[in-house]
């Protein structure tokens, strides 16, 4: 059976796939989104992991969403609501005084640190703003420059130039180095340095001393208004729902339970897809929201040049991030934490060396015995997620390498125990409060979300895999070596995080008639 009623098929209803669908549909294309799961949103998901307890299954904080995307797709009109905004970040000290980051204001730090932090925030926000200009549109072609590429490059160069001498020089100095060195030279408070490091390494196979972590930090703050992250009402799945509603309102159709078995080619051009149930769907455009490796696995190596397959193979996508979900009988009491701050973004990482030490294990295929975590208790702000009086704790925990040497069958219990021990030390008695617990390891994330390698951002956010080299040469302008096949997910520029920009950029490139690379 063939079905040529659609102009474009989108592989995967992640938020980028849906954003792309919405923009393509607005551009007059007939779009069908094919999703293997039963819900939209991909990694923007809400999951009931124990009866009556729901949690954001992957990303749990929203801090990167592109305001242009939110506005153009009218996400709030399509149901996006916030349970809390402008969350403070609290670094849990264990012993001693906690550190609170509230916008540009620090509590628990010296006056020196406050002054340095104000300046640091000012600079970083300027840099992120420039970087955002690079990210909010398809990157210009550097080698085969056409008129509009030249104009765009000139504009971007001007944006960098307008930073002024001092800030530009500082950007060039720190842009490719590591967050550890930058934090070390500018701040005194170890908790503050740890907090900045966490921003730079969350989701990545990197420690604070890894090169490029300043870039990763900037990436995380792409759309930073300086006010702190938000919690989506109903969990992150509500964001997925809003994207889906926006796509449907624009005229796109979404089909769930439609797992793709292959992306099909006719005469070496993309011509459609075959579903796992054998259905053939034809369209001249196939746009993949799936990660780079999964996408080209669906195409098959025999349909691609060997050198390109090698680049895809070498794309660095080693997941190290696990997700811990706890159903709690009551609100845990963290030592030294003002109970009013329990709904903040809590960081369980007290020194940069502690984070680096946790990362060391991952380098050698082991789990960190003392994991670092980003914790939220969304039920403080959103009582829809748990029965009355009960709470859910969500923790992004590192480092849990995808390719665990001991294997995840044995490793799951060990890592869960390590996480709970860390939490117990910070919140004595929390263990007693646990009604149910779930750990999603990188292989679980791979299985659940189709992420090859279990990497949150589809692949490392690093300079060799960013901007005009993301994900790999030959597929770095949304078009791929297969005519008619495009990328629109986190594998593509500008990369991971709940931005919506990859999907928007891909749609723009397609509507502008991007040629096969």
């Amino acid at each position: 059976m063939t079905d040529a009623t659609y102009d474009a098929l989108i592989v995967g209803a992640g938020h980028n796939g849906l954003a792309c669908a919405a923009y393509l549909a607005s551009g007059g294309r007939k779009v069908l989104v094919l999703e293997a799961g039963e819900r939209p949103g991909g990694l923007a998901a809400t999951r009931e992991f124990a009866e009556g307890f729901r949690v954001s299954a992957a990303a749990h904080l929203l801090n990167m969403l592109s305001p242009e995307v939110a506005k153009e797709l009218a996400l709030e009109r399509h149901g996006l609501a916030y349970a809390a905004r402008n969350l403070k970040t609290v670094v849990l000290p264990g012993n001693g005084r906690q550190l609170v980051i509230d916008g540009d204001r620090l509590e628990g730090a010296s006056a020196n640190d406050q002054a340095a932090f104000t300046e640091f925030q000012r600079r970083m926000r300027r840099y992120a703003k420039v970087l955002n200009r690079f990210c909010a549109r398809p990157f210009p072609h550097l080698t085969e420059r056409r008129g509009r590429d030249n104009r765009l490059l000139a504009k971007l160069a001007w944006d960098v130039r307008t930073l002024g001498k001092a800030d530009m020089r500082e950007l060039l100095r720190i842009g490719a180095i590591n967050i550890h060195d930058v934090a070390e030279e500018q701040f005194e408070n170890p908790l503050l340095k740890a907090a900045l490091s966490m921003d730079a390494v969350l989701g990545s196979h990197m420690g604070p001393r890894s090169p490029n972590t300043v870039y990763a930090y900037l990436h995380r703050h792409l759309n930073d208004d300086g006010q702190g992250p938000a919690l989506v009402k109903g969990g992150m799945g509500a964001l997925g729902d809003a994207f889906a509603a926006a796509a449907e309102a624009a005229g796109a159709t979404i089909r769930y339970g439609a797992r793709i078995a292959s992306i099909d080619l006719t005469d070496c051009r993309a011509a459609g897809v075959t579903l796992a149930d054998g259905t053939n769907l034809a369209a001249a455009l196939v746009v993949s929201n799936a990660d780079l490796k999964s996408t080209f696995q669906l195409v098959g190596p025999l349909n691609l040049d060997a050198g390109f397959v090698r680049r895809v193979h070498n794309f660095r996508a080693r997941g190290v991030t696990a997700k811990l979900h706890l159903a709690l009988d009551g609100l845990p009491e963290f030592r030294g934490l003002n109970p009013a701050d329990a709904g903040s973004r809590l960081l369980a990482a007290t020194t940069m060396d502690g984070i680096e030490g946790a990362f060391n294990h991952a380098k050698y295929g082991e789990c960190s015995p003392q994991p670092v975590m980003e914790v939220t208790i969304a039920t403080v702000h959103d009582d829809s997620l748990a029965p009355p009086g009960k709470h859910v704790l969500s923790a992004v925990a590192q480092y849990a390498p995808y390719a665990l040497k001991a294997g995840w069958r044995a490793g799951r219990e060990t890592f869960m125990h390590s996480c709970l021990s860390q939490l117990e030390a910070l919140a004595p008695g929390i263990g007693e409060q646990v009604i149910a617990a779930e750990l999603l390891t990188p292989p679980d994330l791979e299985a659940r979300f189709g992420l090859r390698g279990g990497h949150w951002h589809h692949g490392e956010i690093a300079l060799d895999q960013a901007l005009f080299t993301r994900p790999v040469p030959g597929a770095n302008h949304y078009a791929t070596p297969v005519p008619g096949l495009y990328l629109c997910g986190a594998s593509a520029h500008p990369g991971g995080g709940l931005l919506g920009l990859a999907g928007r950029n891909a749609a723009k490139a397609i509507l502008a008639g991007a040629d096969a690379a």
Binding site: C268, Q297, P301, D305, A306, G307
Partner: protein, 394 residues
């Protein structure tokens, strides 16, 4: 001392016989092996291959054994030819390109039996073969050291091999292969070679190598058999118009400077590229080149006079350099002064008046000439016996 510390060139399995026959003791390295430039006299060896039988030790030739469930689709994606058309028991000359459609190497693919292949190449290319295997179920083994081989080339080669006991060999068609029991093992004979003449290549396990050499030279004595070295083979292959990796083109993986690699079209090998067989590495780039045009044209030139034009600049009639010769020799059997040359587009059209700038010295006196070149259309050396089946029994 570890094997790594041994920096001596390697011996081929025929080394004891080669060394005994090599009067000149002039060796050159060939992919890590010591290979004779000549045994006694280059001309005698060359004429043996053209008028009797020349035997060449080609054991250093890089050989990969390729098998596994995906072997055929793997090779079809690796090589520019339609591998499905090379039936079991057949050999095909072919080449392979990188993503940019630039030639990595040329070589021969032996379809030994259903799904079991041997790829013979000039260059080592295991890395590229393994890269091409990503995501596919194939086995690739470098069997360069596990297979000894002699090229047996010339008009009496079939008779000499038949005298060795290879019955029915005359019925083997060009690019066919056949197996014979030999010395308690197996001898594979293919009707292939690098001289453009009647000839065979004989393949055995190294343990039977010396026995093969001895049997062949004993049987071939009345057929004027003679070992030949690299220099004689080089002369024969230029006369046959064959190109050589590293000489007439730089393998794309070794190219350092932008634009120095060559596509199949730029080597005159259009006929080896099959766009109708489905995808292969380099296809998109080559399609684009076919539409947009090539940068270079590869030509075979008949150079006036008898002074070879190695590395000569090729000039147009205004004296402007439009290319250079990559290989050149006075070819005694064809009686032509041949140069293989790479020319910038659009030069090399039939109407172009081209000259080779040749420098030569006679007793320390250097002379420079500009010799008129004519493009050779069609074969240079192509005796009917090359294709005759049954092969003539000289």
């Amino acid at each position: 001392m570890t094997p790594h510390d041994n920096r001596m060139l390697l011996d081929t399995p025929f080394a004891s016989r080669v060394q005994a026959a090599c009067e000149l003791r002039e060796w050159e390295p060939w992919k890590g092996y010591a290979s004779p430039i000549a045994y006694e006299d280059v001309e005698l060896e060359y004429f043996a291959a053209r008028n009797a039988t020349g035997v060449f030790d080609l054991s250093p030739m890089t050989k990969y054994r390729i098998g596994g469930p995906d072997a055929e689709p793997y090779l079809n994606r690796l090589l520019t030819r339609d591998v499905r058309k090379i039936r079991p028991g057949r050999v095909g000359y072919t080449l392979w390109c990188n993503d940019a459609g630039m030639v990595l190497d040329d070589g021969t693919l032996f379809h030994l039996s259903q799904g079991d292949y041997r790829l013979c190449a000039q260059e080592r290319c295991l890395d590229w073969l393994l890269t091409s295997a990503l995501g596919l179920d194939v086995t690739i083994v470098d069997e360069t050291a596990e297979v000894a081989a002699l090229a047996v080339q010339g008009p009496t080669s079939c008779a000499a091999l038949r005298a060795m006991g290879l019955e029915g060999l005359e019925s083997l068609k060009p690019f066919g292969l056949r197996h014979y029991p030999f010395d308690g093992g197996e001898l594979m004979v293919s009707r292939t070679g690098f001289t453009g003449d009647l000839g065979y290549e004989a393949w055995v396990a190294p343990a039977h190598a010396e026995a093969l050499w001895d049997a062949m030279f004993a049987a071939g004595r009345n057929h004027l058999i003679r070992p030949m070295g690299n220099a004689a083979l080089e002369l024969a292959r230029i006369e046959a118009g064959f190109i050589q990796a590293g000489v007439d083109f730089v393998p794309a993986e070794q190219v350092l400077r932008h634009g120095r690699a060559r596509s199949p079209f730029e080597l005159g090998l259009d006929w080896l590229v099959d766009f109708d067989k489905g995808h292969f590495t380099g296809r998109s780039a080559l399609l684009r080149e076919r539409e947009q045009g090539s940068r270079f044209r590869f030509v075979r030139l008949d150079v006036e006079g008898n002074k070879p034009a190695p590395e000569s600049f090729i000039l147009n009639k205004r004296g402007k350099t439009v290319g250079h010769a990559t290989s050149a020799a006075w070819c005694p059997s064809a009686k032509r002064n041949v140069a293989l040359a790479s020319l910038e587009m659009p030069w090399g059209r039939p109407e172009d008046e081209l000259y080779a700038e040749i420098y030569y010295s006679r007793e320390l006196r250097w002379t420079r000439i500009e010799a008129r070149c004519r493009i050779i259309d069609g074969p240079i050396w192509d005796p009917p016996r090359r294709r005759q089946t049954p092969a003539p029994n000289f």
